[in-house]
Symmetry: C2
Subunit: 130 residues, 2 copies
Amino acid sequence: MQKSWLNEVQWTAEGLIPVVTQEFSTGKVLMLAWMNREALALTAQGGYAVYWSRSRRRLWRKGEESGHRQKVREIRLDCDNDALLVLVEQEGGIACHTGRHHCFFRRLEGDAWHTVEPVLREPKEIYGGP
Amino acid sequence: MQKSWLNEVQWTAEGLIPVVTQEFSTGKVLMLAWMNREALALTAQGGYAVYWSRSRRRLWRKGEESGHRQKVREIRLDCDNDALLVLVEQEGGIACHTGRHHCFFRRLEGDAWHTVEPVLREPKEIYGGP
């Protein structure tokens, strides 16, 4: 991968960049995830979001288990070259592994985090149960 | 600061958390920045966004030089407790130090990043020139 546009990205010491994923049609911020160079190249090439899973230490083709893929509409880089914004269409309308539309479902109210978004589909239905 | 809601946040090894800042009225993603515990407490308490500047290694009261403060409407935490979404009203309509509405002003088109947002006010007008 000799692509010069990839060289403009300021990767962290671990070779990653934080990615804000926003739903194209609603403007909802779906999630914050991470990409490495390969994930970004694959995302640009394939048209579907591919992240780097820091917990599993491997490429994570979003939707590979859930079917909730993210079709990419735009990829944007910020002023410091150290953050990405990816605009997507969220297949199935569920971005979060908890079965919610998006991951930012807890809101600070007074001195506590309150869940303010419903579960649209139970995780065990999405991922299969034991 | 003994507040338990602050203890629910998964801080990085450096004591930070990435923060997506979104404009409340337009849904635009303005920037990605970082907070430490003190910045988050001050943001919640004071109602204006306070970040941790990694380059300057100090608290950064957004707008302290530019006047472009961010009035906070909502603070949200994600499913893994390791990312924040802050919904704000952007005073002056300019979030980016380049004088643009927001920081994600370059879009990937083919094999290159293209600037697709105008400068609304020259940085030297905002910050003062030499």
